[in-house]
């Protein structure tokens, strides 16, 4: 059995607690990075990270890109969507296809 974790600023993630997910409130990028590293060693399979935290710890997230677990998925915070998740998606398309074919006609 695997667990699901949610990492982000307190106000964004507090609601997930009532759904039975494990919530970790962090206040800065360093804490978020440390949190991911710790959780990755336990049996957390899916980690949702709010975008405002994810943008500062890209190198930590990239570290787990090649690994199967944990699956790190950026989610919007309560300050709205920053487009980091979409950017990752776009990067995948570019990597696989060689050109961006999903978004717009440019490039």
């Amino acid at each position: 059995m695997y667990k699901v974790g949610v990492i982000g600023d307190r106000d964004s993630v507090v609601g997930f607690r009532s759904l039975g997910l494990d919530v970790f409130a962090v206040y800065n990028f360093d804490e978020a990075a440390a949190c991911i590293d710790t959780l990755a060693k336990e049996d957390y399979a899916v980690l949702f990270v709010t975008e405002n935290m994810a943008e500062g710890i890209e190198n930590v997230i990239a570290k787990y890109r090649d690994k199967v677990f944990p699956i790190i998925t950026p989610i919007p915070s309560n300050q709205g969507v920053k487009g980091i998740g979409m950017q990752d998606l776009k990067r995948n398309v570019e990597k696989a296809v060689g050109a961006d074919i999903l978004f717009g006609k440019e490039g």
Binding site: V4, G15, L19, I71, I75, M86, V93, A96
Partner: protein, 213 residues
């Protein structure tokens, strides 16, 4: 294209011909693999995009409700209200083999009986905004998990496609031309040797005939 550094012998030639046949076959297989990976990837990435758009929109709304709830309730009250959830989310992940790429497949189940309310608090001390926020989050959660699964799958597929494409290109533009070039070089060299032997023999014969006269 640079040829390989080999001795122009018949044995080398046979060896290289075998290698070329393998390379060509490998190239065909790799190409098929790449095309099929690409096809799957295109299906998945579209789904990925739709899911992400959906989750982003709905989650933003849900989080706004949380924010509203937070605004009308004190921080301590809010924290206290959600402190002891009535259910626990556990997921099970199986690795599925998709075109020799290991991708995750998430099954989730909520632990907790269905007749227990999903609100882990009494309604007396909390605001209605919190109820709707939690109901919304609860609705999005399956989508979020699916998004996590699809996104990881796409990511792994993209990596695999890149690797496969590199191999295809390496075979197509380096290995195969190089082998062909070397094979031609050896064949020519062998032919040349044969011709020179022939002329030498003819010359010797001529010389012998002259002496006998």
């Amino acid at each position: 294209m640079a040829q390989m550094n080999v001795n122009p012998t018949r044995m080398e030639l046979t060896r290289l011909k075998g290698q070329l046949a393998t390379a060509v076959r490998g190239h065909d297989l790799m190409k098929d693999k790449r095309d099929e990976l690409m096809r799957r990837f295109m299906d998945l990435i579209k789904k990925n995009k739709e899911l992400r758009e959906k989750v982003e929109v709905e989650l933003t709304e849900a989080l706004h409700s949380v924010l509203l709830a937070r605004a009308v309730m004190s921080k301590e009250m809010l924290e206290e209200a959600v402190m002891y959830p009535t259910r626990r989310m556990d997921i099970n992940i199986e690795m599925v083999n998709l075109m020799s790429v290991e991708v995750p497949s998430i099954q989730y189940k909520e632990d907790g009986s269905a007749d227990v309310s999903m609100y882990p608090y009494g309604f007396a001390n909390t605001s209605g905004e919190l109820d709707s926020a939690i109901a919304r989050l609860h609705e999005i959660l399956p989508d979020m998990l699916e998004l996590a699964q699809v996104e990881k799958t796409c990511q792994r597929l993209a990596d695999e496609i890149e690797r496969t494409r590199r191999r295809v290109n390496a075979l197509e533009y380096i290995m195969i031309p190089q082998l062909e070039e070397t094979i031609r070089y050896i064949t020519m060299k062998l032919d040349e040797n044969e011709r020179s032997t022939l002329t030498r023999l003819m010359k010797v014969k001529e010389m012998l005939q002259e002496r006998n006269l």
